[in-house]
C-alpha cells in the first residue's frame, strides 16, 4: 500500500542490501571494521530519524542511548554471564524503557529547550559512566565482553560479525519501513508538520512524541549492544556528546525524514575520514564545508541527488 513513487527506492534498496552481502569478500581487516561501524551507526541513525526526521524532535541524546545499550549488554554478558543472544534484546528493552522514562517529562519542552535537555542527558550519561566505577567501570570501562555467538557458532571475527550486523540492519530497516507507512508513522510526520492540526485530527500528540523518542532510543540501544559485542570493550568516550552530533550530521547529510537517507548518511560519514586520511586534521575543513554545502543546496540531503538523477533519466515512479 505504498505510494508508487517509492517503488524505485525500494527496488534500489533491495539491490544494495543484496550486493552488500558480497562485500566482505573484497574488504580486508581494517576495512571490514569500518564497514561494521557504518552498519552499527546506520541502525542508530535510522532510530534518530523517527525522533528528528519524522517527529521533528531535536535530540542530542542519541549517543547516550547507544551507550545505554552498550553498557547494559556489557554488564549483562559479563557480570550476569548471559549469552549475547539474550543480553542484546534485554539491552534494547532496557534502553527503550530509559528512553520512555526520560522522554515523558522532557517532551513537554520544545525546540531549543528540548535540544538542551537531551544534551544534558547525554552529558550526564558520560559523567555517570565515568564515576560509577563499581558497575560501569569508570574511565577504564568494561572489558571482556564476549563476542556474539549462537549455539555451535561464534561470530568472533569482524568478517563473520558483518553478517550479523547486516541481518540486524536489514531487520531494523524493514521494521522502520513498516512503521513509517503505518498510522503511527503518519502521525509522527504529521506532528512535525502541524502539531495543532495533528491533535485536532485525534492524535495524542504527547503520546506520539514519546513513541518516536522511545523508538529512537530502542534503535540506539540495539546499535550500542551490537557495538559492545564487536569491540568486546566499552568506555565512556565512545558515547560522548560529540557522537550525538555526528549521528545528527549523518542523518542530515543522508537526508532527514528518509530511512534510506539515514543509512546512506551513516555509511558516507563513517567512510569519509578513511577516504581522506592523507589530509590529516584538514579533513575537518572538508567535512565542515560539505555539511554547509548540503544544508544550503540540498536541505533534503544527498539522497535527494539520487531522486533528482532518477527524475532526469525519467524513471521516477511519478
Amino acid at each position: 500500500m505504498r505510494p508508487p513513487r517509492n517503488r524505485l527506492a525500494v527496488a534500489a534498496a533491495l539491490v544494495a542490501f543484496l550486493l552488500a552481502l558480497a562485500l566482505p569478500a573484497f574488504v580486508s581487516g581494517y576495512g571490514i571494521r569500518i564497514l561494521n561501524l557504518a552498519l552499527i551507526s546506520a541502525i542508530a541513525v535510522i532510530g534518530l530519524n523517527f525522533a528528528f526526521g519524522y517527529a521533528g524532535l531535536i535530540t542530542l541524546a542519541q549517543a547516550g542511548f547507544v551507550g545505554c545499550g552498550a553498557y547494559l549488554t556489557a554488564i549483562l554478558s559479563t557480570t550476569a554471564g548471559l549469552p549475547p543472544l539474550l543480553s542484546i534484546p534485554l539491552a534494547v528493552v532496557g534502553t527503550t524503557a530509559i528512553g520512555a522514562a526520560v522522554g515523558l517529562p522532557m517532551l513537554r519542552l520544545k525546540g531549543h529547550y528540548l535540544a538542551l535537555a537531551t544534551l544534558g542527558f547525554n552529558v550526564s550519561f558520560v559523567i555517570v559512566a565515568t564515576n560509577w566505577k563499581s558497575v560501569m567501570g569508570g574511565t577504564d570501562g568494561i572489558s571482556g565482553i564476549p563476542s556474539f555467538a549462537v549455539p555451535g557458532f561464534a561470530f568472533a571475527t569482524d568478517h563473520r560479525y558483518y553478517y550479523v550486523l547486516w541481518l540486524a540492519l536489514a531487520l531494523a530497516t524493514g521494521i522502520a519501513w513498516r512503521i513509517r507507512y503505518s498510522h503511527i508513522g503518519l502521525a509522527m510526520i504529521a506532528v512535525r508538520d502541524d502539531e495543532i492540526a495533528t491533535g485536532a485530527a485525534s492524535v495524542g500528540v504527547t503520546r506520539i512524541k514519546v513513541q518516536a523518542f522511545s523508538l529512537s532510543a530502542a534503535y540506539a540501544g540495539l546499535a550500542g549492544a551490537l557495538f559492545a559485542h564487536m569491540t568486546n570493550f566499552v568506555a565512556p568516550d565512545d558515547f560522548a556528546l560529540s557522537h550525538s552530533i555526528i549521528y545528527l550530521a549523518m542523518l542530515i547529510i543522508g537526508g532527514e525524514g528518509s530511512i534510506l537517507g539515514a543509512i546512506a548518511g551513516a555509511v558516507i560519514v563513517t567512510f569519509m575520514p578513511e577516504l581522506m586520511r592523507d589530509l590529516g586534521q584538514a579533513y575537518m575543513i572538508i567535512f565542515g564545508s560539505l555539511m554547509l554545502l548540503i544544508l544550503i543546496f540540498l536541505p533534503k540531503g544527498l539522497l535527494s541527488l539520487a531522486a533528482m538523477a532518477a527524475r532526469r533519466i525519467g524513471i521516477s515512479g511519478r
Binding site: 500500500m1 505510494p3 508508487p4 513513487r5 521494521i175 513498516r178 512503521i179 503505518s182 498510522h183 503511527i184 508513522g185 503518519l186 502521525a187 510526520i189 504529521a190 512535525r192 508538520d193 502541524d194 495543532i196 492540526a197 495533528t198 491533535g199 485536532a200 485530527a201 485525534s202 492524535v203 495524542g204 500528540v205 503520546r207 513513541q211 522511545s214 523508538l215 525524514g257
Partner: protein, 258 residues
C-alpha cells in the same frame, strides 16, 4: 429535537481582552448551525475553546451527553467532534490520502507494536483506507490521492481538510470559514457537499463570513459581536434583526442608502 452540543456561559479572556463572553449555544442534532459575526467577533476563539485548542476561562461544554470542557484536543476529536481550520492546516510532507488517514488515528490500536505486527491494525487500516478513498471520490479528489498535499490548489486543499475530518465518521463537524479563499464555483461545490452531509445525518457547526452561503445552507444562525451572542434564530429572523444589521453595518445603517 435532541441537542448534541450544549455550550453554557462559555468565556475566554486573553489578559484584559474578553474574546468570548458568556456565550451559550444549543446545537440540535442533524442541523447546519451557523455562527456568524463581523471580523474579530471571537468566532474562531470560540471554536478553538470548543475543540480543546485553547483553555476556557469559564463555562461548560457538553457534547453528546458528556462534559468535555477543556479536554485535550485529541480526546474531543475522538469523542466525535472534529474541526477544520480557518486557513487550512495540512501535513505537507504527506500525500492527500495520508493526510486523510491521520484523521482516523484514534480508530486504530495505539501501540508501536501493533504497527509492526500488523494484525488488527493492518485490517482496520485497510478499512479506513477504503473509506478515505470513498470520501476522496465524493469530494472530487480521487485523482490527487497519491500526490503530496502541497501540490494541490488552495480550494482542493480545503476539501482535503474536510475529508480528514470526515474519515473518522464524526457526530459533529465544525468548519471554520470553509469558504474563505474559494472561488464561486468552489463555494457552490462546498454548498452541495454541506447539504449532502446534512442529508446523511451529520450535524454541522459552520463559522462563516460568506453570507450568501450561510443564508442558503444554515437551518439556524447565532450572531456573535465583540465576544457576545447578540442574536439567534432562523436565517430570515436573523436577517431582519436590527441588532445584527447594526453590528454588521454600524450605527445609523438605516440612512446609509438614503
Amino acid at each position: 429535537m435532541t441537542t448534541i452540543l450544549a455550550v453554557d456561559g462559555l468565556s475566554k479572556s486573553f489578559g484584559g481582552v474578553h474574546a468570548v463572553q458568556s456565550v451559550s449555544l444549543a446545537v440540535p442534532q442533524g442541523m447546519i448551525f451557523s455562527v456568524i459575526g463581523p471580523n474579530g467577533a471571537g468566532k474562531t476563539t470560540l471554536i478553538n475553546v470548543l475543540t480543546g485548542i485553547l483553555p476556557s476561562s469559564g463555562g461548560t461544554v457538553r457534547f453528546a451527553d458528556r462534559t468535555i470542557t477543556d479536554a485535550p484536543a485529541h480526546v474531543i476529536a475522538a469523542a466525535g467532534m472534529v474541526r477544520t481550520f480557518q486557513n487550512g492546516r495540512l501535513f505537507h510532507r504527506l500525500t492527500v490520502i495520508e493526510n486523510v488517514l491521520v484523521g482516523a488515528h484514534h480508530r486504530l490500536p495505539q501501540s508501536v507494536w501493533s504497527a509492526i505486527t500488523g494484525g488488527v491494525a493492518a485490517r482496520r487500516t485497510a478499512e479506513i483506507r477504503s473509506r478515505a478513498r470513498g470520501l476522496l471520490e465524493t469530494l472530487g479528489l480521487i485523482d490527487d490521492a497519491d500526490r503530496l498535499v502541497g501540490a494541490l490548489p488552495y480550494g482542493r486543499q480545503r476539501m482535503v481538510e474536510i475529508a480528514r475530518a470526515l474519515v473518522s465518521e464524526p457526530k459533529l463537524l465544525l468548519l471554520d470559514e470553509p469558504a474563505a479563499g474559494l472561488n464561486s464555483g468552489e463555494v457552490e461545490r462546498l454548498r452541495e457537499v454541506l447539504l449532502g452531509l446534512r442529508r446523511d445525518g451529520l450535524t454541522i457547526l459552520l463559522v462563516e463570513h460568506n453570507m450568501g452561503l450561510v443564508m442558503r445552507v444554515a437551518d439556524r444562525i447565532a450572531v456573535i459581536h465583540f465576544g457576545e451572542k447578540i442574536a439567534e434564530g432562523t436565517p430570515a429572523e436573523v436577517r431582519g434583526d436590527p441588532k445584527v444589521l447594526e453590528a454588521y453595518l454600524g450605527h445609523g445603517y438605516r440612512h446609509a442608502g438614503d
